[in-house]
């Protein structure tokens, strides 16, 4: 009897220690359940490795009739990313919003947002965020200086797009994974270094061999691999 009491006491002393560690982020209790989850904004953002993204990731929980569901639990999961909070209840407009901090490894991070259904099971939506390392950042700077004039159809106050002024074939956006993913690194390097005609394409893409270093050209390729949508195979699946 005495021995049982001793073991019991030890167990009682140990247990709070275990639970305290596990209860670092108590997830809130859902007050409602939805049947559909959609991304509202904050996906496909680009940031430096380890940095906080400038906009939150926002998803919306909808019911069977398509109307937003407030008070539903949404969990955000992704190996390498930090969410604050990682479990949130949807607000009065059915939306859950979390701040995202990127991981330390460059590449594309697949985010899985999930909400429980009332009858059990979950509905999910995937999104992805992009972390740039040194090489990809260099590529981004180089491409924003030389390439986006023609390769980005959107204008900014500092840069008027030249996209519509070109004669067809039109340039591909760097995020155009469907076109660029099948091309090999060697071909992309060749077209940047020697211009469109090197691969039998339009001379409207000039040769950058005399302007950019080999490291810069490789950096541009690393950057467009990083921002590819759908993600480039080598950096996908994280």
């Amino acid at each position: 009897m005495k021995r049982v009491a001793t073991y019991g006491l030890v167990l009682i002393l140990i247990l709070p220690g275990c639970t305290a560690r596990r209860a670092a982020g108590p997830s809130p209790t859902p007050k409602a359940y939805g049947t559909q989850l959609v991304e509202v904004s904050g996906g496909k953002q680009i940031g430096g490795v380890g940095s906080k993204l400038s906009d939150p990731l926002v998803v919306q929980v909808n019911g069977a009739d398509g109307s937003p569901v407030p008070g539903a639990l949404v969990s955000f999961r992704c190996v390498g990313l930090t969410f604050n909070p990682s479990d949130a209840l949807s607000d009065s407009s059915g939306q859950a919003s979390v701040a995202v901090q990127l991981g330390g490894i460059p590449g594309s991070y697949q985010v899985l947002a999930a909400t429980p259904k009332s009858g059990g099971g979950t509905v999910t939506v995937t999104s992805h965020e992009i972390a740039l390392g040194y090489q990809e950042k260099l590529g981004k700077e180089v491409s924003e200086k030389y390439c986006t004039f023609c390769h980005d159809p959107e204008s900014t106050p500092e840069r008027v797009s030249n996209f519509d002024n070109l004669t067809p074939p039109s340039p591909h956006q760097f995020s155009d994974g469907n076109t660029l993913n099948p091309m090999s690194d060697a071909d992309l390097i060749k077209i940047i270094a020697d211009g469109g005609p090197a691969l039998g394409k339009s001379p409207q893409t000039p040769a950058y061999r005399g302007t950019l270093t080999t490291a810069e050209i490789k950096a541009v390729v690393a950057y467009l691999r990083a921002v590819a949508d759908p993600p480039y195979p080598a950096s996908a699946g994280k």
Binding site: L102, F149, G210, T211
Partner: protein, 684 residues
């Protein structure tokens, strides 16, 4: 049987006789001397190396990886940089590019970088303790070593320990350094950079010596209370003054104000045309004079439209005294000799229209609730004390208060500040980057009595500033000088009569010349080699932009003929590039046949029309300048040399080097010089 008896029997067994004593001591010695090797056998790094060996066995290039793997402690030793890094003991595959698909540390290869691993080691960039061989000691704060691994979002700061030049691969560091200079951090804090120079502020806070001419006590009160309520884009920080303090400061600033040189000048007025016409004409004049190259105004949608080189003008009508504004438009330097604003040669009618337009840019709500009691000597005295205590004169010139010396802590080595000297707020992560970021974000959270004001910065800007400050390490100071990549600190100013004129026009607010000046407009260092005299004279008479898509354009200065002659004489003789003997280009080679071949190259082989317009009827390219009158504008030698190597004559240009042969460059030059505006000359 008692415990003592038992112990006695055990002791007798081991030490009862001499041979037994000898055997016991030998065994004890063997056990003791095996403790260290056993600990080593089970050490963390051996565990990782065993895992690595197991992992590579299953890889297609196992044989090669195994051949390259060496067991044992690895070390990078660079005595002159105090580097003893054993990181590669566990991170064994840092140089194995074939493992790039791995997603988990510690076996990922290092991503591509501009330096080799053996050149600088690891801790120079990543911090942490290089000599440690356990995960805990190498990466995290311990009692013996308090600087942990630098979070990856601040890694760019490490480049800044040597590189003073602007690197393309470090956008955060570059932005942080720009902000350090732009937000005037260096007015109060001394920040010595690795090359020994101090960070120089680029903001130019206005002189307050004559402020009563410019505005009212009420406006100063409202501004000091919350600068961003008047102009969202203002870089002036918020000191969180109480109403009483703000009123005292406003009383003092008005009381200390003296008469400016401008106020002694007679103000010539032209009556603006009445009513709607004036508003219309003023608005369009503001546009055609390109004030928005430097000044911004918020539009109806709440977006700022215009440049950020000069103050925002959204509510300027609620601020300025109308007579001050008219005098300022005529002669800014008569009010503030150090202003960057040029002295435009506006006539009286233009001044009347512009001032009418600017005075209409007001917000009646801004000062509606400001009712200050009359100023008295006690209030003025309190205001003077506040102005001195809060270091206002570190930025602004004020009569009777000298600039403070060593007003705020020196930040030259902030990136190596010992953590025991840091006063953290309860609950915040106790790391240096978090401390610096927290201090920039909300300084008063670290103590209500602190004087540092709150700047209106975004999270990204705070991260960039933190990156720039983390570069200020002990290591940066002790770097061998040959490693420090410095930038030029040229202080070129043009001389002579033309030089005085160029100062008056503040050419270098926008144009850089011989390494000194702004970056908004083209560099003029070689302008004399580049352009033809007639074009230069026409351009200064009527500056029409070569890049119609840009918002920022050269304003019209209304120069006299004599002034234009003086400027063009000076530029054409002083701003010459070296090696421009026209021998490089025989005029006879630039004939009609060559021009025809050049046209073919322009349109077909090099598709120049993708970026340039040679003919408004068919070309649409809008990246580079229009070339429709380039034959009037540029000298043939300049065109030829620019085509051969654009970056050499125009550093930082977007134009790629097309790698032309000499013959192709000659043919293209021959074509380009045929592009002229009109037979009678002049620009379109």
């Amino acid at each position: 049987m008692s415990l003592g008896n038992q112990f006695g029997r055990v002791a007798r067994f081991f030490v009862g006789t001499a041979p037994r004593r000898f055997a016991s001591v030998s065994v004890l010695l063997a056990v003791v001397s095996s403790i260290a090797p056993t600990k080593d056998l089970f050490s963390e790094w051996r565990h990782y190396q065993r895992r690595y060996v197991r992992m590579i066995r299953n890889r297609p290039d196992a044989a090669r990886l195994e051949r390259r793997f060496e067991s044992g402690i690895h070390q990078i030793w660079i005595p002159e940089q105090h580097v003893v890094d054993r990181c590669s003991t566990c991170h064994v595959a840092l140089q194995e590019a074939s493992l790039a698909d791995l997603r988990k540390e510690p076996f990922r290869p290092h991503p591509p970088m501009p330096h080799s691993l053996t050149e600088f080691g690891c801790v120079v960039c990543h911090h942490g303790q290089g000599a440690a061989t356990t995960v805990q000691e190498a990466h995290y704060s311990t009692k013996a070593w308090e600087q942990p691994i630098l979070p990856s979002r601040y890694t760019e700061s490490s480049c800044g320990q040597c590189h003073m030049d602007v690197l393309e691969g470090t956008p955060r560091l570059n932005q942080g350094r720009r902000l350090l200079a732009r937000y005037g951090c260096a007015h109060c804090h001394a920040i010595t950079q690795p090359d020994g120079t101090l960070v120089a502020p680029v903001d130019e806070p206005p002189s307050l010596e004559h402020v009563a001419e410019k505005t009212t006590r009420e406006w100063i009160f409202a501004w000091v209370k919350n600068p961003q309520a008047y102009a969202a884009s203002s870089t002036m920080p918020n000191y969180r003054f109480s109403d009483q303090e703000a009123a005292d400061i406003a009383s003092f600033l008005v009381a200390q104000s003296t008469a400016s040189e401008n106020s002694r000048k007679e103000l010539k007025r032209a009556a603006p045309p009445p009513g709607d016409d004036a508003a219309q004409a003023g608005t369009s004049l503001y546009g055609t004079l390109f004030c928005s190259s430097c000044h911004a105004i918020q539009n109806a949608a709440g977006n700022l439209v215009g440049g950020d080189l000069a103050p925002e003008l959204t509510r300027v009508g609620s601020k300025v005294n109308p007579d001050w504004l008219r005098r300022w438009l005529q002669a800014p330097q008569g009010y503030d000799p150090k202003t960057r604003m040029p002295r435009y040669r506006y006539d009286e009618k233009q001044v009347a229209l512009l001032s009418t337009f600017l005075l209409s840019k007001k917000d009646d709500d801004f000062l509606a609730n400001v009712h200050l009691p009359d100023s008295d000597t006690a209030s003025i005295a309190r205001g003077k004390k506040l102005v001195a205590d809060y270091g206002c004169t570190a930025c602004h010139r004020v009569n009777g208060v000298n600039p403070p010396e060593s007003f705020a802590p020196d930040l030259s080595r902030i990136g190596s500040k010992p953590l025991f000297q840091v006063g953290f707020i309860r609950g915040m992560p106790e790391t240096l980057p978090d401390y610096i970021a927290g201090k920039i974000h909300d300084p008063r959270a670290f103590g209500p009595a602190l004087k540092m004001p709150t700047f209106s910065l975004t999270d990204v800007q705070v991260e960039s500033l933190t990156t720039a400050l983390l570069a200020q390490t002990d290591r940066a100071v002790t770097m061998p000088p040959e490693l420090v990549r410095t930038t030029s600190h040229a202080k070129y100013h043009p001389g002579g009569d033309a030089g005085r004129l160029m100062e008056d026009l503040r050419c270098q607010s926008c144009h850089s010349i011989n390494g000194n000046g702004g970056d908004m407009a083209p560099d003029l260092s070689f302008e004399g080699s580049a352009v033809q005299r007639k074009w230069l004279v026409d351009f200064m008479n009527n500056p029409n932009t070569l890049r119609p898509a840009l918002i920022r354009r050269m304003p019209k200065f209304n120069l006299s003929e004599a002034e234009i002659k003086s400027l063009s004489d000076y530029m054409l003789s002083a701003y010459q590039a070296s090696g421009f003997d026209s021998q490089a280009l025989e005029a006879s080679a630039l004939n009609a046949d060559a021009a025809a071949r050049g046209k073919q190259l322009f349109y077909t082989k090099y598709a120049c029309q993708s970026c340039h317009i040679a003919d408004y009827k068919k070309d649409k390219g809008y990246v580079g300048p229009a070339l429709t009158d380039v034959g009037d504008q540029l000298t043939p030698v300049w065109i030829y040399k620019l085509l051969k190597n654009p970056n050499a004559l125009n550093p930082g240009t977007v134009m790629p080097n097309p790698n032309l042969t000499d013959g192709e460059a000659r043919d293209l030059t021959a074509f380009l010089i045929t592009l002229k505006a009109h037979p009678k000359g002049g620009t379109t």
